[in-house]
Symmetry: C2
Amino acid sequence: MTSRYSDLDWLVINTIRTLAIDGVQAANSGHPGLPLGAAPMAYVLWTRFLRFDPADPHWPNRDRFVLSAGHGSMLLYSLLHLTGYDLPLDELRRFRQWGSRTPGHPESQLTPGVEVSTGPLGQGFGNGVGMAMTEAFLAATYNRPGHTLFDHYTYAIVSDGDLMEGVAAEAASLAGHLKLGKLIYLYDDNHISLDGPTDLTFSEEVLLRFAAYGWHTARVADGNNLDAIEAAIRESQAVTERPSLIAVRTIIGYGSPKAGTSKVHGSPLGADGVRATKQALGWDPDAHFFVPDEVHSYMQAARERGAMLRTDWHARLTAYAASYPAEARQLRRSLEGGLPDGWRAALPAFDASGGEVATREASGKTIVALHGTIPWLIGGSADLSESTRTPYTMTHSFQADAYHERVIWFGVREHGMGAVLNGMAAHGGVKPYGGTFLTFSDYMRGAIRLAALSHHPVVYVFTHDSIGLGEDGPTHQPVEQIAALRAIPNLWVIRPADANETVVAWQVALERSAGPTALILSRQKLPVFDRATMADAGGVQYGAYVLREAANGTPRIILMASGSEVALALQVQATLAERGVPARVVSFPCWEAFAQQPEAYRDTVLPPAVRARLSIEAGVAQGWERWVGNHGACVSVETFGASAPYQVLFQQYGFTVEHVVDQALAVIGRTG
Amino acid sequence: MTSRYSDLDWLVINTIRTLAIDGVQAANSGHPGLPLGAAPMAYVLWTRFLRFDPADPHWPNRDRFVLSAGHGSMLLYSLLHLTGYDLPLDELRRFRQWGSRTPGHPESQLTPGVEVSTGPLGQGFGNGVGMAMTEAFLAATYNRPGHTLFDHYTYAIVSDGDLMEGVAAEAASLAGHLKLGKLIYLYDDNHISLDGPTDLTFSEEVLLRFAAYGWHTARVADGNNLDAIEAAIRESQAVTERPSLIAVRTIIGYGSPKAGTSKVHGSPLGADGVRATKQALGWDPDAHFFVPDEVHSYMQAARERGAMLRTDWHARLTAYAASYPAEARQLRRSLEGGLPDGWRAALPAFDASGGEVATREASGKTIVALHGTIPWLIGGSADLSESTRTPYTMTHSFQADAYHERVIWFGVREHGMGAVLNGMAAHGGVKPYGGTFLTFSDYMRGAIRLAALSHHPVVYVFTHDSIGLGEDGPTHQPVEQIAALRAIPNLWVIRPADANETVVAWQVALERSAGPTALILSRQKLPVFDRATMADAGGVQYGAYVLREAANGTPRIILMASGSEVALALQVQATLAERGVPARVVSFPCWEAFAQQPEAYRDTVLPPAVRARLSIEAGVAQGWERWVGNHGACVSVETFGASAPYQVLFQQYGFTVEHVVDQALAVIGRTG
């Protein structure tokens, strides 16, 4: 059979390959193996299928491309450069250097055309699932007869490593369930991982596994057979009700002296290796970062095609807006990452006389209200909707026959959920959230970290936030999780004290665009504070605020607490007042927000002169020292919890008025 | 076909069921659904197959049973009680109460007969794989012709939730690769998860997926068909070169009014529901925690059979010891959790004149030495052996045809590795370790936490411990991970400063029996300190020690650092000395160990009078405030890293002599 591909195509492919190995060699660090082996499939995908416009990397209906095997970043950078993204050759020369836009692994916040930050294996796989879900949602929500605004594909190149990771397994199972037909993954099946041949640890039948998930699968026996790759992708596009995995058998480090071995996975080829590889590819061994003129002019076509596609889409959008102005406005706002006008109007308010309310419950009511006012709010939980109070519905959930719905059943797949949420946020047009027990935030930290690194404004609903969880016991009781989440840069952790603080916490989370927010919520009921006698819950936005000042004089001690322990602090304050000791209660739901306030504000909340300070939080004290200082103390939980009714646990762990009063008096005693 | 089971069998099964629902009802909290549905399969397994001795829960060759679906704990407690473990009926009555041995989810450290702590889904699944691997290793290592010491099975009951979790997927793939024929899992296939019918999110073909992993699979259409369950287990035993998954179709909450719905998954049945269920099961609705006499006497047989099996095994061991005294001694020591006499003799020592050594490198040399002296040390990495310097071998790794080997290829399966290590530690007879990049400790936190909770003495080899990782960039550079690990109760985190501290860190980790230890190691080379001019590296065992006192007078500041930053602290000390400022350098590798020292020792290292203190660690400062106090400061990394050569990064992030000297002088200035 005659190939539909010419020498020019191969010239481009070898340009990609040689740029990649030149980049790695210049950095003397990186992964040359993947680009050499996977360049042909990437080339076919990018030139024959992928709809993108280098001049507008954020054009909403572009196809998404994820390099889940992020270590092959030079493959992506080479493609971005050649297709005309704003990534000059000089950036490729500065691969892995300080201040460059070509970091070791792709970072979406740095480089135009990089859809998501990848490298930690399995994450990109899950991100793509989230993107395809979002496309399905937007198509179901906005497309109208004769007006197709969303119909893009989500493609990825995934590696053995991706497919070994549990996060990818979770996302794959979900994608199969949801029948995401526009999700097409190319599996760089090179039989080699970092340490050696995959058959030393990975002997499963991958395609059979994916068939079991409900995926369409295909195999390309030779990763250099461009026609076969193209045919497999076309075949996958034709399968509209199943995601596709195409295993493309490649030779890692193709063309290099160590091709087919793990030696070429994660180490530069060396100057001699680069020369030998170039010679094997018919390249001038003395040319570095060389792009032949005909390659430049040929790839110009990508820019032109992209511009045309985008222009066409914008024309469609204009026509759409004429027929569906309200929908078009909504779409525009959502794509900007904004919120609807007046979205706060429907937020619930809780009255102190209405009885106690768990903050998970207040959050649940808030979410329901927000679903009503923010049509692009979408989320769910990892099989804990009834517990986390994220919306619960069996009949109106996001399913293959109901892509317009906004309640997602993620299944018991926390890590997959985290990666999917990132993909949804990266896609744009939706505001995603996900919930589980706070303890199981551990399961999804890999994804939370990438949300923080990539500035994804995802909202996490983490409930059952302490030993207050009660009988389920220490396996389910978070102790260290709040501290561990606070340690993540650019993640905001908000632990509201009552129902009204919970509403404000949601506001803060939704208005935050610079990164993710974790809401930390109680299982147990908590008093709703009478704000007539206390400060407004709006103080949550400052991270910490004086909830109730000492009534009986200048405070001799500051009681600072978060979440369920704020009510205890108020009781302690009252008891201390009875004993003639003025104490201030500071509600301290969010360290990150407080740290960002001007020093003047911080000093009004925590006056430096008041050295007697006590933190009260049912978790490890780690880090509270920053706020209580040398002279202060922490009422905390430093060991794992136990299985018992929560009232018993709080007593056993010292969260009683008597014990905390004693601690407060001891601190005052020490500070004189 | 006539059943081989009688009314008496059903009487026991219904005793299990009613004990379970009585326990949940008494606690007014818990999960009645699983025990009602899964009691028949558990009964068949425990009475027809499982080899155990209630009088000696730790008998080494017992079959292992894991209730991976730990929320069904009352099923297990009922079985333990009826078969004669030291778990009186009163403990079942005190289900989920303070101080009981019947917590909400099984905890191995609390309850005899509970092999591992389960509840966080997927973990038990992975633990079982680790147990089966250990059995295979011990059998290959110790069994001799005519002397079979190890030939036990590992069984588990797993749920939909377990099978949705990525950690289980990872472990399953590994188990298939390793052809663990003695691993037999019963899948409680009840089509219901906490939130509702599994078909809302979990529509994959589970058995086909497991076949793809290389498992033998079987299906039992009716979970009340005892003969079919027995036949499926026998069939699975006959498949000796593949692990087995038997899907047993059950009705969740069988017999209860809400059978077959998610309502019966995680909530008590209520008094009326309990009555109705008992009536449906032919039970006296007014009897609570009732064990018929004939059940007691029938189950007595389990005790007798167990005692016989154990006695027989000990006779075998005696015979073995006569023929193979050295092996028997080794086995005994390993089962006690001990180490060989003189194991430290082969530990390497590093000379300051030998050039710089990365601590991962020093760790690697130490592991090689330890593999020589501790025949039961076994471990590996998650496809990063070359990087983490855990032993690397393609030809002598633990494989289906080489179960006697001690280097495991875990694959790119960090969470699976963590769960497997826990299972190995729980099994006993081995000393397990596992390695990956520190950043990816995030992926396995679920398992690390359970190691800490369950007191498993696992050793983690976490390398590439900071921005010092360099070019791979922020996706791979840990920033918050050290703090996040320190937050976990009962996990020791040790970050040695040089090669010799690394050796001591390994000693501390191996001698620790109360829980896991994480070694935090550098990628980059570090100076080997000249101990002739500094304190001995043995100080690591105290957590912190004065590495080099100020030469020029009483210290005006304490520089405390861990890992790669200790060398910087020494340079700063020297520069300060040139400027006439005496400074003390404290190497501070392990907070947890230091916190356990007597106050007198702590005060010698950190004299309260010296208020000027500076911590230097390339990670978030969170928690260092505890040691530096109000007047101190922290040189830290509070944002994500970047992709660049590590020397550039350390400079950009302020880890330079000049910058730290400035910080030190500022602190001194503030404290006067």
